[in-house]
């Protein structure tokens, strides 16, 4: 393949990958954040201690985490078809990607929120703050740097998953690499897609790290 042949494939692939990752990240955060917080709140000694809810959510999350993504991808085909109308294409892929990443992100959220100093929670309780207030004004703002770091990790995992999704009818760089690089034995094309993926992951990590550093430095600067 010449560069002029490769170029549209690569740019289309990149756009599709970014599209899938962006939207599935969004859905993952929307779904995983409350789940992670729920795990902390309902845990023993938590503000909304509830063993049943905690165990059920915990088990569901663990099942979600222990399934290999490729299996999940296939198992979810009927569900994806029901939600999106098809199981092929970048839009359809958002469903399995998000469902695969939500349990993962929920655990990251759980760890981040658990690390918030309990004294702060007590302080707000002593002011008469309700549980939603505590979540909004203490847990989330205080855990923000760790949460952002968790989002970064999740985005990178999703980039990896999205490449896998290429094997089952998704689009994106992964699918292009499989179709052109692997099935047509075009090593050069394969190499370029790999480099592109590495570049994307590196940039994401960089942005994440900078954001975390900026957030963590809040209040510690001597201005």
């Amino acid at each position: 393949m010449t560069w002029s042949e490769m170029q549209p494939l690569l740019s289309q692939g990149t756009v599709d990958t970014l599209y899938m990752v962006l939207w599935s990240t969004l859905v993952t955060v929307v779904g995983g954040l409350p789940l992670g917080i729920l795990l902390v709140l309902t845990d023993k000694g938590g503000l909304l201690q509830n063993t049943v809810v905690n165990k059920v959510v915990g088990v569901v999350v663990n099942i979600g985490r222990s399934l290999p993504f490729i299996i999940l991808l296939i198992a979810l085909i009927p569900f994806t078809t029901w939600v999106v109308g098809t199981f092929i294409g970048p839009s359809a892929m958002i469903v399995p990607l998000a469902i695969g990443a939500i349990p993962f992100f929920a655990r990251l959220v759980e760890t981040a929120v658990r690390e918030v100093d309990h004294g702060l929670v007590e302080a707000v309780q002593s002011m008469g703050g309700s549980v939603p207030t505590i979540v909004r004004k203490v847990l989330l703002p205080q855990a923000l740097p760790s949460l952002v770091s968790g989002v970064t990790t999740t985005v990178i995992v999703l980039i990896g998953y999205s490449a896998m999704a290429g094997a089952v009818g998704g689009e994106g760089l992964g699918s292009k690499a499989v179709t052109y690089g692997f099935q047509r034995f075009d090593n050069q094309f394969m190499l370029i897609t790999v480099v592109l993926l590495v570049v994307i992951v590196t940039v994401v990590q960089l942005i994440g790290d900078v954001a975390v550093r900026l957030l963590a430095r809040r209040g510690r600067t001597t201005s």
Partner: protein
Amino acid sequence: MPRARRTPRRALDSDGNPVITTSGLTKVYQSRGREVTALDGVDLHVREGEVYGVIGQSGAGKSSLIRCVNLLERPTSGTVTVDGQDLTALAGRGRRAGKELRRARSRIGMVFQHFNLLDSRTVRDNVELPLEILGISGQARTRKALELLDLVGLADKAKSYPGQLSGGQKQRVGIARALAGDPKVLLSDEATSALDPETTRSILQLLRDLNQELGLTVLLITHEMDVVKTVCDSAALMKKGRVVESGTVGALLATPGSELAHELFPVGGTASGPGATVVDVTFHGETAARPVISQLSRTYNIDISILGAAMDTVGGKQIGRMRIELPGRFEENVVPIGFLREQGLQAEIVDGGPATAEIPAQTPAAITEEVAK
């Protein structure tokens, strides 16, 4: 100190409006199948406008006690009444604090040993937090927060972050924040324990000022006797989940055998030999200013040696204790001791003769020693 003797619980002062009352407060924790009793029937009466110190060693239950007052900790049994409101009745059954309990809490300020400020918020925003919870809108909130910061002497730090402040400054922010809901009562959970002595003094001074200027009732717990000495009107001593002594500092000092009095004003020294009487004399109020000892010496023509003494100002009043030695056995000193008591002083016989009904024994151990001789 005597160990075997059970110190009776005392309620020495009952005038004044009680603003915090706990009765029969009990807290039992379940820890690995075992039951640990942190509070064992605590009755506390904090009167309006006073600074009340609860002192005890770690594990005595004082932290559980203060956390039960605003129900951060649910008591196992007993009641807590703050400003006429029975908080235990508001608590409900679940772990979640209902609306009414939360509203009641917002009228009780609390400061913490480790300040518990949100490091992601500026000083001003930290003080605004309770106001946000109270639903006060933007401008009024900011105005109030700045007022409070001014009150604690940190007006210039409004835009700083807690991470940029010293420990003492952080605690001032904590105090400003605790005052945001215009509380009648301030709970202080070891507020000065993480601070150096000088900063401790300045924070205690601030609490004292607020107590006097705003009529704020302060309930503080501490393990430092100095805190009680510097700032408290009343004190309670906790041991193993029980209040073993309580009352105004003056009344405690006037109580024979009071452990708190002894801790507050430790006087040491033993008799120079047999045939001498050792007496602990407690001065408070105006008696502290009178030359009683030299009067005693002149009137009865006896030589008095001072074995130990401690003098201080407690709650603005001069208070002190002195351990003196009078020549001769107790029987020979009945009249001089009577003279001391006539002067309005507290005189306790430490060493010198068998305890009689009207002269309570201060230290049985010392007396046993004497008898053995």
